[in-house]
């Protein structure tokens, strides 16, 4: 080979290929990504950070927190669940309260049967009706239908060798305690057929999603992080190494899900989380003796500073005298508190929070 320009041109061509694929293409794909509106609110996700938190982002970058902490939650699989929201009503729905009492206690008898079909592990109890109601012919008809269905169910159970427990939770309890998770972590077909069974009985049921993976189970976030979570960030500090836990959702982390679990002492939980994070910044070893998170004690004054607004002193656990967080410490904590992945997005849905009512094991 004698011609340098040929080699140069070839090299630049190879580089152009990789540039087009890994710089241009992502920019075309993601460049126009915008915050997504949160349903039923006027808010968007991700929201612009308030001023203090934006300053905190700078502190986070400047102190190199991203060298040890990622802000990307991973997720392995997406499974589904079925949730019962409301009993609904149909011809076989009866009100157990007396007419004129002003109260309603609807029982959808078809739903009880449907649910029993879906969950062979639950018992089913007789429905007792206050005697005055037995005068109502509709109620009597519905009850008669229910008894007939129960017999059919019993036959079906016998055929499938299903033995329902005689004690423990019954479908009646589950229905009475809504919203109830009928199934969690099942394949989409199973969840869909159960939802169909329940809605056919007149009830209001929905398909829910269950995000899975060690990160989610650890309580590091409700769903995986996606590109949209970062559209407002500059620089984008994703982090690539987890010496410490992921911080993508540290603002929402439950106390027991911290690397060193703790408990709320009172009811002002927001203030307690903030206090906990400030103490962590001052000296992580006060909260977790084995922690290797570096102390940012330089963000605190030992003496009350001579500025007009010194802020509240920070009480420390143990015998240490209180210290005074500087502006940057408060900013950093404000930034950490804005870290959340609890908002569902089209590309990364989150399970809406519901009361857990004895979900079936997959």
């Amino acid at each position: 080979m004698r011609y340098g320009p040929i080699i140069g041109a070839g090299a630049l061509f190879s580089l152009a290929c990789s540039w087009a694929a890994l710089v241009m293409a992502p920019q075309l794909q993601l460049g126009a990504l915008a915050p997504a509106p949160i349903p039923n609110t006027s808010d968007v996700h991700p929201a612009l950070r308030p001023g203090l938190a934006a300053q905190g982002a700078e502190v986070y970058r400047s102190l190199g927190c991203y060298q040890c902490h990622t802000r990307q939650v991973r997720q392995d699989a997406l499974l589904f669940g079925a949730r019962l929201n409301d009993v609904g009503s149909n011809a076989n729905t009866i009100n157990l309260e007396l007419p004129g009492s002003g109260k309603t206690n609807l029982v959808n008898l078809d739903l009880l049967i449907a649910l029993a079909k879906a969950r062979p592990d639950l018992g089913i109890a007789k429905v007792t009706v206050p005697p005055p109601l037995l005068a109502d012919t509709n109620v009597v008809a519905a009850l008669g239908q229910f008894t007939a269905n129960l017999t059919l169910l019993k036959h079906a159970d016998d055929k499938l060798d299903v033995v329902r427990p005689t004690s423990g939770p019954t479908v009646n309890d589950v229905v009475g305690n809504r919203p109830a998770e009928i199934f969690v972590k099942v394949a989409p077909e199973t969840a869909e057929s159960v939802v169909k069974l329940l809605t056919d009985s007149g009830a209001k049921a929905e398909l829910v999603i269950c995000n899975l993976g060690p990160d989610i189970e650890r309580g590091w976030g409700a769903r995986r992080s996606v590109a949209r979570d970062f559209v407002n960030d500059t620089p984008v500090l994703l982090g690539s190494l987890r010496v410490g836990p992921d911080l993508a959702s540290i603002g929402m982390r439950a106390p027991e899900k911290f690397a060193a679990p703790w408990k709320f002492a009172g009811t002002n939980t927001a203030a307690e989380v903030e206090h906990h994070l400030l103490v962590h910044l001052y000296n992580p070893r006060l909260l977790a003796p084995a922690s290797t998170c570096p102390s940012a004690a330089y963000l605190f004054d030992k003496q009350k500073p001579e500025v007009r607004f010194a802020g509240e002193p920070l009480a420390l656990p143990g015998k240490d005298a209180p210290v005074f967080p500087k502006h940057n410490a408060r900013a950093l904590v404000a930034y950490l508190l804005t870290q959340r992945t609890d908002v569902g997005l089209l590309e990364a849905p989150t399970p809406a929070v519901a009361k857990a009512a004895a979900p079936a094991k997959p």
Binding site: L15, V23, L33, P214
Partner: protein, 471 residues
């Protein structure tokens, strides 16, 4: 450059002698080599101090300047820009001059540009320590250091290319292919990354993608190319045989350029899924060119490896560098995916490429170049110090690489199951591996020091020879 190219006859007639070529190289190459080795020492010490904090958090606590989050990027950038790239320029200039049989253009200008490069690196390292890091891996220098860096590079590369253009030996040897590719590759990736990240500021995770793309190209193409340039020059020379299988080499060269630029993004999570998949596939495919290149080197040296190991101080460095190149490519292909995501495993790859693959090859080459440019002998003055540099560097690279990799695998096991306790498994559990890393960086610093002292001895002898009368 409108002058007509000299015909090969006049070229031969006009070809400078080896002594003239070396004289033109002396100032810039020695300056770059010395500063590079000094930065290797400084960077290794910074990395050592940072690594101690990973298991002794109270070490140097209470001062923002030396907190882990600043010390570590300062160390990595010092090693990348101060040591690796700077030494690469020394090797590139020398290879161009020697293989092109041409005197360096503007040796003084090159030296001044190199001086500015060093000033920019120093400013950048202090900028990081002061808290001005940009937040992008391998690209942490703040803009006020990054711009002068780019400007000095532009001068160095421009003069290097002019020198290459004026070469009297028209045939381009493989080493020069690699040098040329790397010299052109680096400004493109650097300007793209700096422009998109610090200037125009592309939105959202595209930043992380661009930064990852830059970091990978720097390691996988630029530094690997300089390494291969060195290998292809010195291995045939050491075994005194022509290069075997040139066809395989050129296939390897082009495939490496085509595939290498696609690797390295396989461990991003919050990006569209096609990016890590494509990159993961490239990580595997790149084995082909690396193997092709290494096989041809092996065919060249086959049968003379043991002999050259003993007789040639440079060769043993190169042999280890080649083995490490193979090892790191295979390991990244096999383990570099989802399992080791977010662990020290990726740190291990960066450090092995910087210090092991490139670092050892560069130190080896310098053990050949420096004595020639100073005393005019074949070896550096002190054989003991050469041995020390080799064994310390070898031990250092292995300790850093193995320590980080083992820590990475432990972290990966913890990350793979929500049952395992994070603090016990991934924090206190990796302390012993990280202690090995600290020792490794220490050994690396010792290797650099040994080389620097040897360098100093050679320079002193050279001075005594020149101005011997005065003493």
């Amino acid at each position: 450059m409108t002058t007509a190219q000299p015909s090969s006859q006049t070229a031969c007639a006009a070809a400078p002698s080896v002594a003239e070529v070396e004289a033109s190289c002396r100032l810039p190459v020695l300056f770059l080599a010395f500063s590079g080795a000094a930065w290797l020492c400084a960077g290794a010490v910074l990395a050592l101090l940072a690594s101690v904090q990973l298991y002794q958090p109270a070490f140097m606590e209470g001062c923002a300047w030396v907190t882990y989050g600043r010390l570590r990027p300062a160390a990595v950038n010092a090693l990348t820009y101060g040591f690796a790239l700077q030494t690469a320029f020394a090797l590139a200039l020398w290879l161009i001059a020697r293989l092109g049989r041409v005197e360096l253009v503007a040796p003084l200008g090159l030296t001044i540009a190199a001086k500015f490069w060093n000033i920019a690196v120093t400013v950048g390292v202090f900028g990081i320590l002061a808290g001005d890091a940009t937040g992008f891996d391998l690209l942490e220098f703040p803009l006020y250091a990054a711009l002068p860096l780019f400007a000095s590079y532009a001068c160095i590369a421009a003069w290097a290319l002019v020198t290459l253009h004026r070469r009297t030996e028209r045939e381009l040897y493989v080493s020069l292919w690699f040098v040329l590719a790397a010299l052109l590759w680096f400004p493109w990736i650097l300007s793209t990354a700096q422009g998109l990240l610090l200037g125009w500021q592309v939105p959202g995770v595209v930043q992380a993608i661009v930064a990852g793309w830059f970091g990978n190209n720097l390691l996988q193409i630029v530094l690997t190319s300089f390494t291969l340039a060195v290998l292809f020059y010195f291995v045939p020379k050491a075994v005194k045989r022509p290069l075997a299988n040139p066809g395989l080499v050129s296939a390897g060269f082009w495939l490496l350029l085509l595939i290498g630029g696609w690797c390295g993004l396989s461990q991003l999570a919050a990006v569209p899924a096609w990016i890590p998949s494509v990159s993961g596939a490239a990580n595997v495919l790149v084995i082909v060119p690396v193997l092709a290149l290494l096989v041809s080197l092996w065919q060249t040296a086959d049968g003379k490896i043991a002999e050259s190991w003993k007789s040639n101080a440079t060769f043993r460095f190169l042999l280890v560098a080649a083995i490490l190149l193979l090892g790191v490519t295979l390991c990244t292909a096999v383990f570099g995916g989802h399992y080791t995501q977010f662990t020290f495993f990726a740190t291990a790859r960066t450090d092995i490429v910087l210090l092991g693959v490139f670092g050892l090859a560069a130190l080896g080459a310098l053990h050949y170049i420096v004595p020639r440019l100073t005393t005019g002998e074949d070896e550096l003055p002190s054989e003991g110090l050469s041995d020390l540099a080799f064994w310390a560097a070898l031990f250092g690279v292995l300790a850093v690489g193995i320590g980080f990799s083992l820590a990475g695998f432990k972290q990966a096991a913890v990350g793979a199951s929500a049952e395992s306790k994070f603090l016990e498994g991934a924090v206190t559990g990796v302390a012993s591996n990280l202690k090995l890393v600290t020792v490794g960086y220490g050994a690396m610093a010792v290797a650099a020091l040994a080389f620097l002292v040897n360098f100093g001895l050679a320079a002193r002898r050279c001075c005594l020879d020149c101005c011997g009368g005065a003493r």
